[in-house]
Structure formats: C-alpha cells, structure tokens
C-alpha cells in the first residue's frame, strides 16, 4: 500500500470528524473520497497532507510514518476548492512558487513552468494575474502549481465545486486524462457521486467520520454493503414496507429497503402478459423529462418510487394507470445491506433495462 491510514481519530470539540478511519491506497490510483458534507472526507484529506493533525492513529506514505512530518516536508501537491492562487502573483510566479522553494535554477524554473502551462493547455497566460482568469482556468493553474515541484501524491479538495456545470464536466474528463497520463497517485474529495463514479478507480465512501465502504465505482454502485451506501449511491427511493411488493418477502430483521429507478420498469397497463405474479399496478404521479430519458414517479397502493422510462418505450402520461415491474431492491439491517432479487422473475434473460 502506498498510502495507509490506521485508526485515525480526529475531533473538533464534540464533533467527531474522523472516527477510527483506516484504509489503504495503492500507488498510481485515482481515488475518490465520497460522502455528504460534514462526513469527514476533507478532514481525512487534510490529515494526509499534514494540514490537520489527527488526535490518534498513524499515517504512512510510501511505507514511512509521517505523523511528525510537517506539511511542507511531505512532498504532496494540494489543490484547493477555492484554488488558493496567490492573487498578487502572475500565473508564472504562482506555478514557479514551489520550484523557488526548492531553490531550482532560473532556467530550470522557466522550462518547468512552460512545460506545465503546456500540459494544462494554457500556454499564453503566464503574465496574467489570477483575477484575469476564469474559474476553469484558475483551477488548471492551481493544478499546474501543485504539480510543479513533482509531488509523489496529489490531493484535490472538491476541485470543481466552484465551477459551473458545463465547464465542470469538461474539466472532470480532462483531469482524469491528465492524472492517468502523469501516473501520479491522487486522492480526490467530492460530494458528487457522479463525479466520483465517473473519474476514479476506487471510491472510499465516508459518513459521519467513518469509512462506510471501499471499492471500485462499479462495486460500490452494484453492491452497497451498508445501509448508508445503499441509500446514498444512485437515485434511491427508500421503501419501508417492501414486503407488500410482489415477489419480495419481508424479512423482519431487515426492515428497510431501497430501490433504484433503473431496476424499475414501467409499461402501459395490460401490455405485458408474462410475470403476472410479479407485475404491480400503479398510477403515474410525476413525469420529469431528463433529456436522454424520462423519470417517472409511480404510486403503487401507497408506495411511491421512481423509475427510468426509456424514450423508446411507449409514452405514459400523468395520472395514467400502469404496470410496474421491480427487478431487485436492496434491503438492510442496522449494519449491512443485501441485494434482493424479485423471486417471481424466473426468466433471467429479463434483467436490467
């Protein structure tokens, strides 16, 4: 393991920001720390960087215990949410900062800054001041500045939070390509699951200062281990009486269930003949057109859930009576989540949409 956290605890007054956090990260990975705000993800990042100090526990970087090593000596690049560019320095001087600290020669600094500006695709901006840049440009410069001293680890604290949606999408892809190209181990904090799922190799889900689950994006998405992850990931609807649904037996030890819209199929009433004992009736409560698909909210005798309706499917409208087929749900007790497949759907060819 390249980065290893062992039993990290950190409290701010009564608030436990890190509660026995342990995990490891392999070299060269792009890892996402994902969780709602206040879940302790930024604290973990800052503890790794040395900008915050844990109350107890150990941090190892490349096998070396760094508890007592200052932020300035850890060899880490840090990209801040608000960019934290020096407003009184030009782009050139901002990027050169870490190199000047390392007492590199003028020529070398010049060469490296040029190289980085080229890398971030902003070669002509060296004389500009940060206030003359757009949000996306600022973040690219902040990225270049963090990379300039050749850090072994790159930490990014919600790097796209302050950037508008369109540019954010672009920057995400760009960042992933960039990090893959350089091959630097990176940890990236976000509260946006799409962002984490899209660009990381591995996700660490945090909640209330604890690590809930560690896994690949696919793994996290398809096999949530804890009630929190089951609810947090995906566009989930919580079901309190899932035993009332056809094909699902209530398990008293696992009182709650969640269902994701992609596991729910809505069709015109009476069209589907098969799976009669799995087919539910419902009323369309809400129709939201999302561009590539339509999101439906259907009411099934008091149980409301969301479903994805493909543009190829026959159009259903508000108030219409429809058939609903639920392929699978997640049920959970206090600590663990389980996948539950509709037992009345024996034909395994009809899976997912």
């Amino acid at each position: 393991m390249y980065i290893e956290l062992k039993h990290i605890n950190k409290a701010f007054g009564d608030f436990k920001a890190s509660d026995d956090v342990s995990f490891g990260i392999e070299k060269g990975r792009l890892v996402g720390l994902l969780g709602p705000s206040g879940s302790g993800k930024t604290t973990i990042l800052r503890i790794i960087a040395g900008l915050e100090h844990q109350d107890s526990g150990d941090v190892f970087i490349n096998g070396k215990l760094v508890n007592d090593i200052n932020a300035s000596q850890r060899g880490i690049g840090f990209v801040f949410q608000n960019y934290a560019l020096f407003p009184y320095m030009t782009v050139y001087d901002n990027i050169a900062y870490g190199l000047k600290v390392q007492k590199k020669s003028r020529e070398l600094i010049k060469e490296r800054v040029r190289e980085l500006l080229k890398l971030v695709e902003l070669p002509k901006l060296e004389k500009r001041y940060p206030e003359q840049l757009s949000g996306g440009q600022k973040q690219r410069i902040a990225f270049a500045r963090a990379l300039a001293p050749n850090p072994q680890l790159l930490l990014l604290d919600e790097p796209f939070a302050a950037i508008d949606a369109k540019v954010r999408q672009e920057l995400r892809t760009w960042l992933k390509d960039m990090i893959t190209q350089i091959g630097i181990t990176s940890i990236f904090v976000t509260h946006d699951q799409d962002e984490a799922i899209e660009i990381t190799d591995q996700i660490i889900v945090t909640n209330r200062g604890r690590v809930e689950q560690v896994g690949t994006p696919m793994d996290i998405y398809r096999n949530p281990h804890t009630p929190f992850v089951a609810r947090f990931i995906g566009n989930s609807t919580i079901l309190s009486e899932y035993g009332r649904l056809k094909g699902f037996d209530a398990d008293l030890s696992k009182p709650y269930g969640v269902v994701r819209p992609e596991y729910v199929k809505v069709s015109k009433y009476g069209v589907i003949q098969k799976y009669q004992n799995a087919l539910e009736e419902g009323i369309v409560k809400k129709v939201t057109f999302r561009g590539g698909y339509t999101e439906l909210t259907v009411d099934m005798n008091g149980i409301e859930l969301k479903a994805i309706h493909s543009l190829n499917d026959e159009i259903v409208s508000l108030g219409e009576k429809v058939n609903v087929l639920i392929y699978q749900i997640y049920v959970f007790d206090d600590t663990q989540a389980y996948q539950l497949i509709n037992k009345n759907l024996n034909d395994s060819s009809l899976y997912y949409i």
Binding site: F78, F80, F86, Q102
Partner: protein, 264 residues
C-alpha cells in the same frame, strides 16, 4: 460602426451628472451660502469669499503661506514616514506572532485612545519646544492607525494561501514574506491613509499651542490681528493639502499596488 448597431442610440453622460458626481456642485452651493451669510456680518467676524481671496493673495505673494505650508508638510513627512515604517514592522510582528501580541496589545489598546494632543505637554517637556517634539507627536499619531490596521491585515490572511505555500514546502519565514506580507498590503495601505489624516490633525493642533511657524501657527496668530480672512485661508489650505495628499496616496496605491488588492 457595426452594422448591427444603427439605431443611433448613444448613451450620453450628462454634464450635470458629472458636476454633481465630482462634488463641484456641493462646493458651489457652499460658496454661495458663505457669500450670503457674509453679507450679514462684518469681515472681522465672517469675511466674504472675496475678502478671503484677497487675504489669501496677500499671504501668498509675501511668501508667508508658502513657508508655513512647507514647514508643516516637512514635519508631517518626517513624523509620518517614520511612524509608518515602525508601525508596519511592529504590526506585522504583532499580528504574526501571538507572543508579541500578548505583550504589546494591552499597551496598544490603551494608548490608541489617548490622542496625540493629550501628550503634547509631556512631549514638550521631554523633547523641547523645537522640531523634535513635533516629529515625535506626528510619529505617535501615525503609529496607532497603521499598526492596528496592519495587525488586522495579518490576521485576516486567507489560511488557504498559507496552506498552499506550506504544501509546496515553504518555510515559515518564506510564507511570512511571500504570503502574509503581500496579503496584508490592502489593510496596511488603509492604515497609512488614516495615519496621514491623523498626522495632519495633530500637527496643526501642536503648532497652535507650541510653535512659531506652520499652518496651525498661522491660523492661531491671525486671530490677534483680526485677520479672519487669513484664518479662513489657513483652514482652506489645510483641507486642500489633506485632500491632495490623500489623492496622491490613492493614485500611487491604485497604480502600484493594484495586484495586491488595493482598491481606490
């Protein structure tokens, strides 16, 4: 002209709006009111604008005004620049290092409220009636606003900038000079401007009480000759000098410190 903009509409800045914006109208109104008021009183009590102008011309041509202005300005320049230099350095240190803050702040928060003029007698006893006591007085008047603002500036430094520097390996001293000091410049600049007005106020008061020269002396002694027009001239000169000095500072700040966030 673009062919898409052929409506013929051009936004006009009215000349009246400009006059009001620049404060010219205010001055015009004051001048008229002054003139009207002066009609009801003798020149000894309230000289008319015209009488004042005549008086001004007389002390300008015989060189009295120029001399007094030069002396006052020199005193301000000496005390103020010394005060700025010392206060900025102290302020940076006090703001940055808690220990100095603990030691110096009680002193600071007490003497801030003792105006320079309150200490004039003491300064006269300690430093004599000559130039030294005046420079010390200006120095005293300058250091508090500059120091208080500098300290505030240091304490308001964006911690993420400090941490960015830290994560790039910068030492404490480097962070101080490359992050803390430049980030504090807008506040320091505000302190310097406030210090200047404090300095001018104090020097005039000091010259009135204990001096044989300077603008304050001119204003004060004119009373004995019933030259109210000279008093008015002195007051107007004072206001004008302060205004010009501040404008000059703003101009320099806007020109050379723009990237540090100095806004004018």
């Amino acid at each position: 002209m673009s062919k898409f903009n052929n409506s013929g509409y051009v936004r006009k800045e009215s000349i009246w709006k400009k006059i009001i914006q620049k404060g010219l109208l205010t001055w015009l109104i004051l001048l008229v009111l002054w003139f009207i008021a002066s009609l009801y009183y003798t020149d000894d009590f309230l000289p008319s604008p015209l009488t004042t102008l005549k008086g001004a011309i007389s002390i300008v041509t015989n060189g009295t005004l120029k001399e007094d202005v030069a002396i006052s300005l020199l005193r301000v320049a000496k005390g103020w620049s010394l005060g700025v230099a010392v206060a900025v350095m102290l302020g940076l240190v006090v703001g940055q290092f808690k220990i100095f803050g603990w030691i110096l702040e009680p002193f600071l928060s007490f003497f801030r409220f003792v105006p320079a003029i309150g200490l004039l007698t003491l300064f006269l006893m300690w430093f004599g009636v000559g130039e030294k006591s005046k420079v010390v007085l200006i120095f005293y008047a300058t250091i508090f606003p500059v120091m208080v603002n500098t300290i505030a500036g240091v304490r308001a430094v964006d911690t993420s900038l400090v941490q960015a520097a830290e994560s790039m390996g910068a030492s404490g001293i480097r962070i101080f000079f490359t992050v803390v000091v430049p980030s504090s410049i807008p506040n320091i600049f505000t302190g310097i401007r406030l210090g200047l007005s404090g300095a001018i106020i104090s020097i005039v008061a000091a010259e009135m009480l204990a001096s044989q020269s300077g603008l304050g002396y001119l204003i004060y002694t004119s009373r004995m000759y019933y030259r109210t027009d000279w008093i008015f001239t002195g007051i107007l000169t004072l206001g004008l000098l302060g205004f010009l000095a501040d404008r000059l500072l703003q101009f320099l700040g806007g020109r050379y410190l723009k990237h540090f966030g100095v806004k004018i």
